[in-house]
């Protein structure tokens, strides 16, 4: 067992590194407090980068750690890198935002912010490499607990506190559903191991397993905010501090989506036809509601919440195909989605009036095009890309998932998805229209052009990635996502 242990530890090296880094940073923060928040942030980003580098240690053929509790393979590596990238961005964009939210705007960020993100990243890492229901749950809860705290991080802001509370209560309900499903699966298959569950399902697919499957999927659907388990999303996205919202919209989405994919393929593999129905329903409901619901929104963060629901629906279309190509398409989709969504939030973080307060009301952004043409150009780029309009890279993964769905014989699903993407194009374009073409209202904010080299650079990077130049990345993306999918269908 000892040589097993060392091999296992090596496999989870990224998680170990991050955990140790998190503990060390916690001590640092305890001694020096918020004055060292910037240094702690830098160290946290460095730890994330280091952990990302350590993912390359993963054996090409994949490896089981801790007697099947976790599995490190191309799939988990793909998700790891995405998660660490998103988490690092979420840390980088935070200090400026939190400074503006302290009295006088010259305060400091709480030093716990980067630490919580690091621990959340540990949890997400466990989620995506989980091959056991227990690992799944522990990882999910580690991420969730950090997320609840992050949502209400500005505790003086009632909206933030409300967001945290709502997220917590509903998250607890979802965890309950998930645990109930897991207990059913365990009870009827006698094991918590994915492969064991798959074997049990293949042997005798009883009613208890059906219920376990439904409940587990429902619990996971909450994390990816798929309709009808999405209700928390708009409120939490709106209330949470913007960097946290950016984090919620990116990293945990990837983790939960990857987890869902792995559970569906590895644990529920023999019953593809059954879970396919559920995923199709979730995908359809999410794309349609995400598109329709966003239309009436006045708050940009709320709008992006619906946008994320909508996008998750599209990603689920790839999973619904149930094929290797479909899984590859879903992972590609998540990769591009993370870049697009982070870019959008980066842009939103630049929208500050003369007093340094952040503007989130879309109507007040009228006339922004004259004041900050480049920024509006970037926003337009992200919105067009989110809408999946062809010259931009956002089109490509949409095409992939539709293609996978059509190949899997799910033509109606692809058609409805495409139609709802038309609806969603409406509100993306409306945002652009308001910013670029509408006359500034009388109470329009005095926009500050105060920039930040790192954030501007990140905007430039993400914008370039989703611009038509992004098509250069098709080959490597296809290679990586293909490998990831292959790891599940091995």
């Amino acid at each position: 067992m000892n040589h097993d242990m060392s091999a296992s530890l090596l496999l989870v090296a990224p998680e170990l590194t991050l955990t140790l880094a998190g503990l060390a940073l916690l001590i640092w923060a305890a001694f020096f407090g918020d004055r060292h928040a910037t240094g702690i942030s830098i160290a946290a980003v460095a730890a994330l980068v280091g952990a990302g580098a350590l993912t390359s240690l993963a054996p090409a053929a994949g490896g089981n750690a801790f007697d099947g509790l976790a599995r490190v393979d191309a799939f988990s590596t793909f998700a790891h890198v995405l998660i660490y990238f998103a988490a690092a961005v979420a840390i980088i964009i935070a200090p400026r935002f939190f400074r503006a939210h302290t009295p006088g705007g010259h305060g400091l960020m709480r030093a716990e912010y980067p630490i919580l993100i690091v621990f959340a990243a540990v949890g997400m890492g466990m989620m995506v490499s989980a091959t056991d229901l227990m690992t799944l749950y522990v990882g999910l809860e580690m991420n969730s607990l950090a997320a609840y705290v992050l949502a209400s991080f500005i505790r003086t802001d009632t909206r933030s506190a409300e967001a945290g509370l709502k997220y917590f209560v509903l998250g607890a309900l979802a965890s309950g559903i998930l645990l109930y499903g897991m207990s059913l699966l365990y009870g009827f298959s006698g094991t918590t191991n994915f492969a064991g569950i798959a074997a049990a399902m293949g042997a005798d697919f009883s009613g208890g397993l059906v219920f376990g499957l439904v409940f587990v999927l429902a619990g996971l659907a909450f994390k990816i905010s798929a309709v009808p388990f999405h209700m928390w999303t708009p409120d939490v996205y709106e209330g949470a501090p913007t960097p946290v919202t950016a984090f919620f919209a990116s990293a945990p989405k990837v983790a939960a989506m990857a987890l869902t994919v792995r559970v569906c393929i590895e644990a529920f593999g023999p019953t593809t036809l059954d879970w396919q129905q559920i995923i199709i329903f979730l995908a359809l409901a999410s794309t349609i509601l995400g598109a329709v619901g966003a239309i009436g929104q006045r708050n940009i963060k709320r709008l992006l919440a619906y946008s994320s629901i909508n996008n998750v629906g599209f990603a689920l279309i790839g999973l619904a195909a149930g094929s290797e190509a479909g899984v590859a398409a879903t992972m590609s989709y998540m990769a591009v989605y993370v870049v697009m969504t982070l870019g959008s939030f980066l842009c939103i973080l630049q929208l500050r009036d003369a007093g340094g307060a952040y503007v989130e009301d879309i109507a007040r952004m009228a006339g922004l095009g004259k004041a900050r043409p480049w920024l509006v150009g970037a926003i337009a780029l992200f919105m067009f890309s989110l809408a999946g309009i062809p010259p931009l890279f956002g089109f490509w993964p949409k095409f992939l998932v539709f293609d996978a769905a059509v190949r899997a014989g799910l033509l109606p699903l692809a058609i409805i998805g495409a139609l709802s993407s038309v609806i969603s194009a409406f509100y993306y374009l409306k945002v652009i229209k308001t910013m670029a073409f509408d006359e500034a209202p009388a109470d329009a904010p005095q926009w500050t052009a105060e920039g930040n080299a790192v954030e501007t650079g990140l905007i430039g990077f993400t914008a370039t990635a989703i611009s038509p130049l992004g098509y250069l990345a098709i080959a490597p993306l296809a290679y990586l996502s293909g490998n990831a999918a292959l790891a599940l269908f091995r």
Binding site: S8, F66, V138, V149, G164, G190, G196, S206, G207, F211
Partner: protein
């Protein structure tokens, strides 16, 4: 025989006290019902031969969690009557939902013909000569060490979160800083002067 009677007794009491936890008007009563439910659940555990879990239930859940709840409920001045105002309104729909789910689950499990949990399929069958507590300990610290440590991290995160959300720096208080006191040198605090008589001292 006695086992069967005990099982049904405990099971009935768990369900009944669980229901009463929900329906009790007084929140303090609710918590007390909850404690009763925990006790009966512990009894069920003992019947299963899981005496460690049973003790854990009583020590941790009754001794710590439930008592914590009790304190919170008593200390917070929450108007539970108001909170419950919506309860009746949503009762029909909620009840319907509950019944539908319950019926489905019963149906699903009723359709299960296997009859019993397949103990042989358990991942880590426990050697019979080891005590319950020892067996759990062995598994927890070897096979499941990864998850055990992760659970520890979860608790840490929860603790950090609780501190972040509740800890406040109070302005205007003067805490004792021992290091500052110790570092202080006489020359910082005292001054020797030799005033001429009749001149007075300038402070």
């Amino acid at each position: 025989m006695i086992q069967t009677i005990a099982f049904y007794l405990f099971a009935t009491l768990v369900i009944a006290s669980g229901a009463l936890t929900v329906f009790a008007r007084n929140p303090v009563h609710s918590v007390l019902w909850l404690i009763l439910a925990f006790f009966n659940a512990a009894g069920l555990m003992i019947l299963l031969g899981a005496e460690f879990i049973a003790m854990l239930l009583i020590i941790v859940y009754v001794g710590a969690v439930a008592v914590l709840f009790l304190f919170v409920v008593m200390m917070l001045d929450v108007d539970f009557a108001e909170l419950r105002a919506g309860f009746v309104r949503y009762l029909p729909l909620g009840a319907l939902l509950a019944i539908v789910l319950a019926v489905e689950i019963v149906f699903a499990i009723g359709a299960w013909s296997a009859g019993a949990i397949n103990m042989g399929a358990r991942i880590a069958p426990v050697a019979s000569d080891v005590s319950n507590t020892q067996a759990i300990g062995q598994l927890l610290y070897t096979r499941y060490i990864f998850l055990f440590e992760a659970a520890g991290i979860i608790l840490l995160v929860a603790m950090v979160g609780a501190i972040v959300l509740t800890h406040r720096k109070r302005g205007g208080v003067k805490p004792q800083d021992i290091g500052h006191q110790v570092r202080r040198r006489p020359e910082d605090a005292t001054r020797l002067t030799r005033p001429e008589s009749g001149q007075g001292v300038e402070l």
